[in-house]
Amino acid sequence: MTVDTSDTMEDRHAKLAAVRPRLLSFARLHLRDHAAAEDAVQEALISAIEKNDSFSGRSGYETWVFGILKYKLLDQMRQQKRMGRWEPFSDETNDEAIDRMFLQDGHWHEASRPQAWGDPDQAFENEHFWQVFDACMLALPDNVARVFSLRELMGLSTEEICKEVGIKETNAWVILHRARLKLRACIEKGWLEETA
């Protein structure tokens, strides 16, 4: 990645246009809504142009723009929370989908036993992997997806997440465990079948 604070404004615009598709898929994964994602990305791009002079070159330019988007997404989430648009987090009741993955003694159920996915780095280069990832994220319940996304996409610590969404840390671990198991199972189903 070339980090250059001497970019002309035109260079910057070109970089923004190039990074836009990735900003959009990121925002869509987090917001689960295409129109809302378009809005958030639009705002982030405008901010990036307005604040152009404050880019110090300490991080890559694209990373800096992603930082702006993440800030917007967090801000938007806080507003939604304030407006009471969230379903309350249910307490730690049993999750049937997870129970079905294991036998009574805790061993993997034959049908749910993880299979090899091949080279993980290749997965990230594979467009189909991301389509499956996207679909599997949408299949998660809102609250579960929100916590997973804050942790794994936005990179917040579980402690920070608890402050943002108002849950206990043990609760966050339970939610993340379930999210990972469900995503893992869903991706394996959608991805391996196609590439087999």
């Binding site: 246009a17 598709p21 898929s25 003694d105 993997w108 996409l153 966050a172 671990w173 993340l176």
Partner: protein
């Protein structure tokens, strides 16, 4: 945690991505993984998911249009 308890093992596999495990938890998990291929694969997959976020703001995507005209 019993030797066959993969469900608890996955709980620790998940937890170690969010917070350091106690030494007891770590040992129990390592021992389980030695004997359980399914949970070793699960560990790799959890780690892959854990790195998903990096993909967006670091790796230049090959799908990006290079011409911005």
């Amino acid at each position: 945690m019993s030797m066959k308890d993969c469900k608890t093992a996955t709980k620790l596999l998940s937890k170690q991505l969010d917070t350091p495990l106690t030494s007891r938890e770590r040992l129990t998990l390592r021992f389980h993984l030695l004997l359980c291929g399914a949970c070793r694969r699960c560990e790799k997959q959890f780690q892959l998911l854990h790195r998903a976020g990096e993909h967006f703001d670091q790796a230049p995507s090959k799908n990006d249009p290079s011409d911005t005209s």
